[in-house]
Amino acid sequence: MADRHNGKVPAVEVQDLTVAYREQPALWDVDLTVPSGVLLAIVGPNGAGKTTLLKAILGLLRPVAGQVLVFGQPVVQQRRRISYVPQRGSVDWDFPTSVLDVVMMGTYGELGWIRRPGRRERERALAALEQVGMRELSDRQISQLSGGQQQRVFLARALVQDADIYLMDEPFQGVDALTERAIVTLLQQLRAQGKTVIAVHHDLQTVPEYFDWVMLLNVRRIACGPVAQVFNEHNLRLTYGGRFAMAAFAREVDETAPAVIAPDRSRSGGGDHGTGAA
């Protein structure tokens, strides 16, 4: 595997990481090397430890074994270079605050304790909202947002942090088509700027289209690498086990043809991938 991509220090390096909740392992000895500048999807069944891995990379969970390096250093020293987009459902959207205020929270890290955000932070937050197409909703109370709008607020908040690595927990979960496209555009912009994106992703069908690297995870690491090399039937079966139902999957994965795959919990209304059709 590409330990050193372009001879640069990897953006994220996870070594022998085991994380357990009450002696119940959520991750078993996971290794992961993410070169700088890739869009990496983490896929795996429910309970595979995807969110746990993100949180461990962020330093929010203490591993039982192993370590995480961010640009070659412990994450505590690199906090400013990482930005986190949690699952939408992880916060209370009835909290009394506005869209702009939530986005400005992205600037709190560099402000540090006590200092208040000022005009500069406000301008940056507005610019980030512009980028996700939400500027005209900046004064809106957050309880009035749709699911897609909530997701875009979170993305704007991550953009404001101006980090080098973006960790996203299911950014496409339950969003409308418009938002999905907006997120994809954003991911491409981030890649063009040389940023690294690590996203937990559920829709296997869109992996080859949206991402260039993929990690298959099910408590332990099944495979990780460029989509064209590791995103194949064999690895998917190892990851999803018997529950993985194939609609159609090219035997030899062709680099150009997008694979059409349906996990058994395929998204409702997910298009015309009936069985038999390839």
Partner: protein, 369 residues
Amino acid sequence: MTAPQVEIQLIAAIVAAACALPGAFLVLRRMALISDAISHAMLLGIVVGFFLTQDLNSPLLIIGATLTGLLTALLVELLHRTGLVREDAAIGLVFPALFSIGVILISRYAGSVHLDTDVVLLGELAFAPFDRVVVAGWDIGPKGLYAGGVILLINAALIALFYKELKLATFDPGLAAALGFSPAAIHYGLMGMTSLTAVGAFDSVGAILTVALFIAPAAAAYLLTDDLARMLLLSAGLGITAALSGYWLAFLLDASIAGSMATMAGVIFGLAWCFAPERGLVAAARRRARQRWEFAQRMLAIHLLNHERQPGAEPELQVEHLWQELRWDRGFATRVVSLAEERGLVTRQDGRLELTDRGRLLAQESLLA
């Protein structure tokens, strides 16, 4: 008003405002009951502090009580974290244990001093003016006023200083941690603030009713605004209102001041719950009623759209038959038709309904949505 009356009201208002500020964050963090636990459990700290110092005015009592409050929060957290007990049960297990030790100690050893169970439960606001601060022979006011004032200032200053951190850690603890603001530090900071405030409120309203001053004004403020800063100010304002109106209720009824203040806090919440402009029961009922009529008009429009070009569907379009076709109440159908006419969705000719362009558009939109 006599001077003691003014002083009692001032103390009550200051204590209520001091409680309402951390109360707002407790409500938002869904930790309302922890304030009840703290205000009970710290009795133990006061009693132990009293035994150590033999002086009810010693600052050690305040420190002891504040530490006991923090201990309560810590024990609840530890018990909850074992995974064997839910948080509400953990609260219900921890504070009665601490509180009852305090009660036993008082009843066993402190029977002769003025630390008695009545005062502990309900406070002694009515006697607050007798406890004066005297500096160099000058009487500069009741002690309760200074204690409450200092606590209010500390709370206001801490919240003003750490407003951003409290907001972030309350809304999104995960992000707070990722950005390097320790949510645990903020949690225990807030618990410390709550404990100190509860000590101040303890003298005035006792252990049982303190929770009313923490929660009711904040819960009411939550229903009245969408902005955190405004919620904090409103919460303090409503707390003061409850304190003053409670005092006069007690005066009129010749009853307990603490009980009356807590009652008024409840009444204020009840008013907000019913009449809050957007979230109140009345506003919600109005909104539902409006939606019901709106929805009925859409149904009517879709019904007409479905049948307008249909041969032999003439009865479907008759005002007189409409209620039977749709199985509606006759009065309801008549009202819906006249509302739709007012809005220009339908026109009526010889008892026959016809969609206007606007009505057709509404029906088509509704079908697409």
